[in-house]
Amino acid sequence: MSLLQQAFEAGKFGVTAEMAPPKGYDFSVQMEDAEYLRGRVHGVNVTDMQSACIKASSLGLCIKLKQAGIEPILQMTGRDRSRIAIIGEYLTAASFGIDTTLALTGDHTVVGDCKDSKPVFDLDSCGILKLLSDMEASGKDCGGNDLEGGAPKFYKGASVTPVYEPMVLQINKLKKKVDCGAMYVQTQGIFELEPLKRFMDAVDKANIKVHVMAGIIPLKAAGMAKYMNASVPGIDVPEYQIKRLTDAAAEGKEKGIKGLPGKVGIEMAAELIQKIKEEKICDGIHLMTIGAEKNIPTILDMAGVNINA
């Protein structure tokens, strides 16, 4: 059974992280980084050509992680695949023992690095979840044909954007995702408790039963925060946090210490995780470290999160 599913069923605080496959065919850096996550998380999301930029496939790195004994979460978007290809990926994944997935619609090709590619979008996030649920229920593929040995079972997840106006649209979409089979959701990066609390209230009010994992993006610098505020939908880094990063940069310059803003970013992430866990605001966290996976053990230690406790 999926490690993340086991954690939630045992009432534990779920912890996932995220990695991107290389833009190339040498996976050694990813495999080295993955070692920081061994025994520290319930699953590692492997992104599926995030931002529509060409990389090695999610399935490829998932297989490598699985073979190395690290639990992968197969991210699946509908941007580049028809429903036929999606089923093919899932059957292959299952044959390697991969049993946790996250379904996404996918960023449009026009925001990516090969804008001429045809966006497929045969299925959206709800469609992918429903395809899996229907397959599990019937033992048949999307054409109604029997699958040899029955259908594989996946612990299915989705994403959600808590900072969104009008919020009711995200809540409605979330309800649909759950109706289609999502058991857990990872949120877009959040930086403060209040917006997360507001979102959780809305989830409760709508009577949506799903495990919510708060998305955590440790900030590396004020510039990164400003860029994300301006360009990334659903991201809202508060001004006082940007100031902390700016002050840390100034202090580092004055004292000749490198990497102070990154350290502050790690502290802020750990503080937030600690509060989320202590105040039981949601069921877990999803760490998006954007290539800085080596910081994850530190962040979790500072936050007092130990999945083996």
Partner: protein, 215 residues
Amino acid sequence: MIITQKKPIEELMAMLEGTTRVGLIGCGNCATACQTGGEKDLAEMKEYLEAHGKQVVGTAIPDECCQKLLVKKEVKVFKDSGAEAIVCMACGDGAQTVAANLKLPVYPSNNTMFLGQVERVGVFNEACRMCGDCVVGSTGGICPITQCAKSLVNGPCGGQKDGKCEVNPDNDCAWIKIYNRLVELGQEDKILEVRPDKGYGAFSYPRKISLKEEK
């Protein structure tokens, strides 16, 4: 209306290389409205071609260039004209209708862009992608297949910023528009309906509809 745009003239001239005697055919309907194949456009094309060594031996503007029988009648003007090729200034459908009625090469002067609404003279918006399974009854009269860059049928992605689409920030998020419209109509419950993703089984083209055969 079928929205057309003029091809770069160099592209047309390349198609006409080696051809001297040319017939021009436009369209009295869509291409006239798009200013790509009406009377004025044919006159301008004639002038251009003649200034560039071509001889325009005949012109025709059928009321609709996609009507096979109508076009068959109209192209008679080219029959004994000595035309070596026809420049069709209608849509892609029109060009093919002309080609089906003449044993001459037909060269399109336009690109066929989309099925569009006329906002005002010369301004066209794409609103329907002719998907064959109209959903606007449950989406407040706004088509998500066309207005959402990802053609999402179950609500928005997380990609809007300040109500604008991540794919083209000039466009409003279709699902926010749909939601606002449904609220206005007192139909916001409709946004909760889970819609199965569109099936493409009946989409192998070319398609044909015959009312006679359906009876």
